[in-house]
Amino acid sequence: MSRAGFVLSLSLALALQLASAPARANEAAPLADDPVVEQRLLVIAEEVRCLVCQNESLAGSRADLAQDLRREIRSLIKQGKTDKEVMDFLVSRYGDYVRYRPPVKPSTWLLWGGPFVLLAAGLAALVLFVRRRRGTSAALSPEEQREAAALLGEKS
């Protein structure tokens, strides 16, 4: 390598070193090697279930498998995979169970559609109910009229 090349690569190495070092002398370094990757990992991991825990997300779990899976996801992110591709990676190995946001497919139509259907049904019932009540202080049914007459008759 030529002298210039050597100096250049040395400066480059030095520059990289400085770039990743903390700004102030005693400022703590981020735990993650790459905060950007870590940020993406966190977003994905919040949507993934820790399989060996009692209902915890992959983001918070300290279990061994969780750490291994986080390591895998980090490497996938570094390879440039999109969030969807990472999710597909996990689902193809562990099934839909691993997703905290259930996929939309025929078996989950009831789940995703349910609340809207219920809301629509509730509001429809509401409209009918209110309409019915609007004119209720009207006449008594013939049965009720007889009852009323009987009561009044007894009273007097």
Partner: protein, 182 residues
Amino acid sequence: MKRFLIPLALFMVLAVFLALGLNRNPSEVPSPLVGKPAPMFTLPRLDADPQAPAGTANASFSPKDMAGKVWLLNVWASWCVSCRVEHPVLVDFAKLNIAPLIGLDYKDQRADAKGWLAKFGDPYTLSVVDADGRVGIDYGVYGVPETYVIDKAGLIRFKQIGPVTNEILQTKILPLIKELQR
């Protein structure tokens, strides 16, 4: 007036599902790999010399080596307590000589693994070392032990989560192997 029966009807439906739910295990994760090709890998063998240069004969194993045969892959580790429970069943299975049993030593130390096999018996045709668990992840392993039955075309046909008991061996695994070998 029948609309007043709706809440009761809804509840009865719910009660039925709750009753059915009592018989299920909510944390058992079925594998999506059943019916799909067994993921490819090349791992060093447990009995090989780790210092030997790459490419040395009989130093590593890959599912390709089992093409055309029906075989079992058993995920185990020396630190796994349940594995000790299933081990005698596997040792007996190996004596039957029906199909090769390949061990996947998961996240283990070579010395511990070898010692464990020496102590409790080695039913495996060979074991491979999955030191960092990467191959385990490819196979959807989430708890040890787990066992896979793989057919001649290299497709996973069955996955057992948890220890293989005699009952499971007799009722599920042996009949399946017999059928696949036809």
